[in-house]
């Protein structure tokens, strides 16, 4: 038949796509948007945005959400969904307080309980979803219901932790020397980071490493990309899915403890709608609900973007109450459209022109590479 290898590679060599994948492209959009948004806020409203503590508070206040969102990202990459995160978080806060205060428990013990609850949820949900093939949405929704129901069975009224060792731990802060702001009376208040932030950042890093460099992490992407193919490539699809839910459960447990460390309160209303916010953060960070694409770093910035939007709305001094939600909605809408339009343009190739020189260079190089 017809043939000419050299010619073929010549042709093929010309048609390489950009080396950055959509994943990292979306990640870049997210990061740039966040930085741009924050700088803009600093310029326009100043005030709190110039206060380093406010930036750190983004982390202080949302450490738990970051952790939940990380777990969710893992599950979403594998093509699933887990909406039990918020419920489990709330349950953990309540059970830990009851244990600490009513059963004079130790801090270590409560930590174990938190992890235990998380792992139990992950275990049960994981088994049901991956080994019995049940739709993850139903199971995790039921998980959320169950957790919320259990909270009030554990304690009908909201509680505040009083156990001394725990309160000390809760009040622990890292002070950043040299950075801070001045209070009303002219006293210097150093900027502070809560313990939870360290944990949350550690979680992000660990999960990022898992996703990028471990076999399990890569299997997640394969399963999310196409589970039939993954199966035939010799990946244990069920086990991979199972572990993803287990990890998400564990992270929800950790998130619960972080929540407790932040507020010290147990309440059925804790972390309401955290799951929706976590999903939103993950998606804003470039993770697809359909699976196979995503990164935790993106999710981290997703959380930051989402929360900065709220901050901006609060600061902007909108008095009419309904405008707050509407503005948040509009900003979200704007961001989503931006993401979609940029992606579409990129697909069309009109964006290629503006790409930096080194990419073009690499394309040329790889073209010649493949010619023997």
């Amino acid at each position: 038949m017809i043939n000419n290898r050299g010619l073929l590679t010549g042709i093929l060599g010309k048609k390489h796509r950009d080396p950055i994948s959509n994943t990292s492209f979306l990640l870049r959009i997210t990061i740039c948007t966040f930085i741009g948004m924050y700088i803009l806020a600093m310029l326009i409203w100043g005030g709190g945005f110039l206060n380093p503590q406010q930036f750190l508070d983004l982390f202080n206040n949302n450490a738990f959400l970051i952790v939940i969102a990380c777990g969710l990202t893992v599950v979403m990459i594998a093509g699933g969904i887990d909406i039990s995160g918020g419920g489990v978080t709330a349950l953990v806060t309540m059970v830990c307080i009851v244990y600490l205060d009513d059963h004079s428990g130790s801090v270590i013990g409560s930590l174990c309980i938190a992890l235990g609850i998380g792992i139990t949820f992950g275990l049960v949900q994981g088994i049901l979803i991956s080994y019995l093939d049940i739709q993850p949405f139903i199971i995790t929704l039921a998980g959320m219901f169950f957790a919320k129901g259990m909270i009030t069975i554990v304690s009908a009224v909201p509680r505040t932790a009083a156990q001394e060792a725990f309160v000390t731990l809760k009040q622990f802060r890292f002070e950043i020397p040299g950075i801070g702001y001045y209070g009303k009376t002219g006293n210097f208040i150093p900027a502070k980071i809560e313990l939870g932030v360290i944990v949350a950042i550690a979680v992000v890093l660990v999960v990022a490493v898992i996703l990028k460099w471990t076999r399990f992490g890569r299997n997640l992407y394969a399963v999310g990309g196409n589970k039939q193919s993954a199966l035939m490539l010799g990946i244990n699809v069920r086990r991979t899915k199972f572990y993803s839910y287990l990890l998400a459960g564990l992270l929800s447990g950790i998130a619960g403890y972080l929540y407790l460390l932040h507020t010290g309160a147990g309440d059925a209303a804790n972390a309401t709608a955290a799951e929706i916010q976590a999903i939103a953060s993950a998606i804003i960070g470039g993770t697809l609900l359909t699976g196979g694409v995503g990164s935790v770093l993106g999710t981290l910035f997703g959380v930051l973007i989402l929360k900065t939007m709220t901050s901006i709305v609060v600061t902007s001094g909108l008095r009419e109450p309904y405008w707050q939600s509407i503005t948040t909605g509009l900003m979200l809408c704007f961001f989503i459209l931006l993401q979609s339009v940029v992606l579409a343009l990129r697909e069309k190739g009109s964006l290629k022109l503006s790409l930096p020189e080194w990419i073009k260079f690499r394309r040329k190089k790889s073209g010649t590479d493949s010619t023997p």
Binding site: G46, G47, G48, N51, Q53, Q54, D57, N60, N61, N62, T152, A156, V157, P158, R159, T160, K170, Q171, Y181, G183, K184, T185, N187, I189, Y259, H262, T263, G264, A265, G266, D267, A268, A269, N270, A271, T272, A273, A274, K307, T310, S311, V314, T315, G317, R319, P321, Y322, Q324
Partner: protein, 299 residues
Amino acid sequence: KSTKKGVIKVGIVNNPPSESGYRAANVADFEKVFTEANGYKVSTFYSLKNDEQLNAAAQFVTDGVDYLLISAAATDGWDTVLKSAKEAGIKVFLFDRMLNADESLYEAAVVSDMAKEGTTAVEWLKAQKLPEYNVIHIQGAMGSDAQIGRTAALDAEFAAGTMKKVVQQTATWDEATAKQIVESVINSKEKFNVIYAENDGMAKGAVAALDEAGITHGVDKDVVIMGFDCNKWALRELLAKNWNYDGQCSPFQASVIEEMIKKLEAGEKLSAKKVISEEKGFDARTITQADIDTYGLGE
């Protein structure tokens, strides 16, 4: 800092006005009092979610407001924020709802005494001298100050055995859910003669169920209807003798707080840590149109 001399920066954390008629009146009250014309620069944040409220309060602190006014969606988890406010020299007022934190962390609380509202209502109920009390108790969203206060009084009666609990369910302030709860009792054919709903909307839902089942309600009828908040439309139901009782919950705390702020600005000390709004309950037998005009919320 950026504040002009004489302008007082105030941050308000409240529940969204859409929560209830009560809340709408409350929000309107604060908007009326704390205006630029009166010398205030106000930022507000509305949410029913505890963590969002906490975040916003923290932001007001870092934003450097002079006064922070809080109506907490949930009572617990506030002390971290309050401490940082104290550290930054920001003065905190609580309004409408108490929260679970040390007294030293805030200047004063201007609140409704929800527990007292509950007791007033239950005392009224006892005074009706019904032959027996079979009560359907429809609760608000669990964990809110209003629910806790209004439930406590009735729970005490249930425990003492003076009243019988037919059913006690939360409808999370939702009218349609309240209707379903009552419907379910009717279908089970259990006897009841009192419906104690923790706000007006849920009472209205309950009444809709009674109407469909052909059960009469109101003054000298089969079932006694009790609600809270004193919405105008609810008080009109009282006037029409379709309902029996409505407990007031005063949403007007703004001017009291403003006075306190003025005092503090003038360098005076505050006299009381806790100011409790004057509230009463209305009986269908005694209510007048004048009452509706003075005390009714909404249009």
